[in-house]
């Protein structure tokens, strides 16, 4: 299949692993930021093709995983209200809050619907004027432009029954947070190709310079990742710390200007709490004042309360890249994809779920 099969080719994979083996002299740790890349790495066993001196650290880049537990509780509360149709992306439905997940709300009679785009939620709002339609807006800079355009569309249609629970998060502040950590072992980054297809990569240049780390914008197919790793290792071996672009077929330096513009017109930058990590300054989006009427958080009175994660769960350490899922005492025992304790076990892009699905079966 064009644009897919050629990036999953065995001969080329062998070629790249050969090049990497020849190149590497030192010991290096590279973090792939994005959960989609983590999924590919574990699914295709890419880490097992690398020399022992190269470690891949899985980053916090699964937007589903880092959505704060309090917000999931809030979503579940709103979704359970009579007269509300609650719309969400599919993989958000199974994320556990402190008392239930959205599928649980649905099983108890709540009108919870899976949508593929926030624009679908606008359509549902237009078709159901006597109902309140709430969209759970999660995701990185990749999904934020579409959320923004849904808001503009709802405004244009004059819909007063549409609102958003916004939890959009941004990648560069998370990279800075990882690099500022005391015990940070990361020496180079694979940046998320789809995020950069929207944002470009100019905002990564000051990070590479300030922290002296190479950053390679990388795609998601196995060969993309192998090439990205090779480019990153080459910089590390040569003592360089530049931003380079592996994902040439989708990413330009300046990104998608129209998407950036629409996003900025609807959202402003705000501090955000990341599940398992804590608050990161300037790391998310909230609606601008002009669009405050679309804020579900303001529209619905729901209790907000701080919630503690289960003590045994080390998802914070996993999301920061300090620990691997295997190092968790609950992994595969109390914590499984059917009964997740922490967020990385939920989404297929979470590191724990990927390890469980592709690695653990033999040890169960």
């Amino acid at each position: 299949m064009k644009y897919v099969s050629e990036y999953r080719d065995k001969e080329s994979a062998l070629k790249y692993t050969g090049l990497i083996r020849k190149l590497v002299k030192g010991e290096w740790s590279i973090m792939e930021v994005c959960g989609g890349q983590t999924h590919s790495i574990v699914k295709y066993g890419i880490d097992q093709l690398l020399p022992d001196s190269v470690t891949l650290i899985h980053g916090p880049g699964c937007p589903v995983c880092v959505t704060p537990i309090e917000l999931i509780d809030q979503a579940a509360e709103i979704a359970g209200l009579a007269n509300v149709i609650f719309c969400s992306f599919g993989d958000m439905l199974r994320v556990p809050g402190s008392f239930t997940d959205l599928l649980g709300v649905k099983a108890s009679g709540g009108d919870v619907r899976m949508v593929y785009s926030p624009v679908d939620a606008v359509r549902i709002a237009a078709a159901n004027p006597d109902k309140e339609i709430v969209f759970f807006a999660v995701g990185f800079e990749t999904t934020a432009p579409v959320t923004a355009s849904a808001v503009l569309q709802a405004e244009h249609l004059g819909l007063s029954n549409f609102s958003l629970l916004v939890s959009h998060v941004l990648v560069p502040p998370a990279i800075k947070a990882v690099l500022s950590g005391e015990d940070c072992a990361v020496q180079g980054f694979l940046a998320a190709g789809h995020v950069c297809s929207v944002m470009g990569y100019t905002e990564y240049e000051p990070i590479a310079e300030k922290y002296g780390v190479p950053i390679v914008v990388t795609g998601f197919e196995p060969l993309d990742i192998l090439e990205g790793i090779h480019m990153c290792l080459k910089q590390l071996e040569e003592g360089r710390a530049d931003v380079e672009n592996q994902y040439l077929r989708a990413v330009s330096r300046d990104g998608n200007r129209a998407a950036i513009e629409i996003m900025r017109s609807v959202f402003q930058i705000t501090d955000r709490k990341w599940r398992g990590i804590g608050e990161i300054p300037d790391s998310g989006f909230s609606l601008r004042e002009r669009f405050a009427g679309f804020d579900a958080g303001k529209r619905f009175e729901v209790s907000s309360h701080e919630v503690d994660e289960p003590e045994i769960c080390i998802s914070g350490e996993v999301l920061r890249g300090n620990k691997k899922p295997f190092e968790c005492a609950a992994f595969g025992k109390e914590c499984t994809p059917e009964r997740p304790l922490g967020a990385p076990m939920v989404s297929s892009e979470g590191a724990c779920a990927a390890y469980y699905r592709y690695r653990l079966a033999r040890e169960r």
Binding site: M1, V4, S5, R8, D9, K10, A13, L14, G36, K43, Y44, G45, I46, Q48, L49, P63, V64, F89, G90, D91, M92, L93, R94, L103, G104, K106, A107, S108, M114, Y116, D120, V138, G139, F140, T142, T143, H194, P222, L223, T336, P337, E338, R339, S347, S348, E349, Y356, R357, Y358, R359, L360, A361, R362
Partner: protein
């Protein structure tokens, strides 16, 4: 309520605190559904015929043997590219019987219809059932019709149960699977699941994907007409190829090794899966099955399957190997190895 049950001393084994209510994932064909069946139904109903966990029950009657299977059909939309609930309800049971090596003979049909359902639509569905039963030579010999209040059903649900006759000398039994056996797949995977989902969710694809819905009885009949010593057959429905193979592996305590590059997937299906973040190995089929038989007979079996319309893409996709683990291993397209686990609940589309 358990305390009123005549069977005393049994408490519900799926802890109420885990799942106080049935979720959609309990019907998704993955691990949760297996748990539900294993811990509740099999435990309470346990008997040697049920415990064999075949696609249908195999029952000795006098000198001969009968196969008995049932299947309920709830699907939205009722009509989809490549089929409809009528044909599905007939082929579903005929195929389950075929997997036991049986010729389907008689079916029952139970209809649960929602008040207000269109008579014209019912007529189309019934005609489709008649056509499907004619094609497979099965007779619908008994039935039942109930109507429920508007809003209490999803248009129409159809249950069929069927009885088939297993010819003398046929001994299909997963316990006969041995190390070295070949694993055959009868065609490309994932079409039914994606076809139905595309319609249901309004996903516009460049070309229409047709469900693979098909009767498997004639293919099975041809396979059984030669001395191929087939050890096991299983039709792939919900949960897809991955769940089907995992179920077989768990029944025989062996490992099944398959090769990703040998598994046929239509480009359009692969494309839709890429967009949705699905793995075709877990997507539903309605006209595909796997055959496990001695390696020496595998090539001939493939030839036979390829002689049929829905078997044109049949392939040997792997082998059974000795292992202390009952699981499925796959050599990926880039040459690495991974475990193909059973699906946990349902596949949910990924965010990005």
């Amino acid at each position: 309520m358990m305390e009123n049950s005549r069977i005393t001393g049994m408490t519900c084994p799926i802890s109420i605190s885990d799942y106080p209510e049935i979720t959609m994932a309990h019907g998704g064909g993955g691990r949760l559904m297996n748990d539900l069946i294993g811990k509740i139904m099999l435990r309470v109903f346990s008997n040697p015929i049920l415990d064999s966990r075949h696609d249908g029950a195999v029952i000795a009657v006098g000198e001969g043997r009968l196969a008995f299977a049932t299947d309920s059909h709830v699907i939205t939309p009722l009509f989809f590219p490549g089929g409809d609930i009528g044909a599905l309800s007939v082929y579903g049971t005929v195929n389950d019987l075929a997997m036991c090596g049986a010729h389907a003979k008689w079916l029952s049909a139970g209809f649960i219809i929602e008040e207000g359902f269109s008579m014209e639509t019912l007529w189309r569905i019934v005609l489709s059932m008649a056509e499907a039963s004619m094609k497979t030579g099965v007779l619908i010999v008994t039935g039942d019709t109930k109507v429920v209040d508007r809003g209490k059903g999803d248009g129409i649900y159809i249950n069929t149960a069927g009885i088939g006759v297993i010819p003398a000398g046929i001994n299909i039994d997963p316990s006969r699977i041995v190390e070295g056996d070949a694993v055959l797949l009868s065609g490309d995977i994932g079409r039914h699941g994606i076809a139905v989902m595309a319609i249901r969710e309004g996903i516009e694809l460049e070309s229409t994907i047709r469900s693979d819905l098909a009767p498997l009885d004639s293919m099975v009949r041809d396979l059984l007409s030669e001395e191929l010593d087939i050890h096991c057959m299983r039709d792939l429905t919900r949960g897809g190829l991955a769940s089907g193979l995992n179920e077989i592996a768990s029944m025989v305590d062996s490992s099944i090794r398959i090769e990703e590059n040998l598994i046929p997937v239509q480009d359009e299906v692969q494309g839709a899966c890429e967009i949705l973040g699905f793995d075709p190995l877990y997507v539903a089929n309605e006209g595909r099955f796997v055959v496990i038989l001695p390696r020496k007979n595998a090539e001939r079996a493939v030839e036979i399957l390829r002689g049929h319309d829905s078997g044109r893409q049949a392939e040997i996709i792997g082998f059974v190997e000795k292992s202390q683990y009952a699981d499925v291993l796959m050599t990926s397209s880039i040459g690495s190895e991974r475990i193909v686990d059973m699906m946990s609940g349902e596949q949910l589309p990924r965010i990005c």
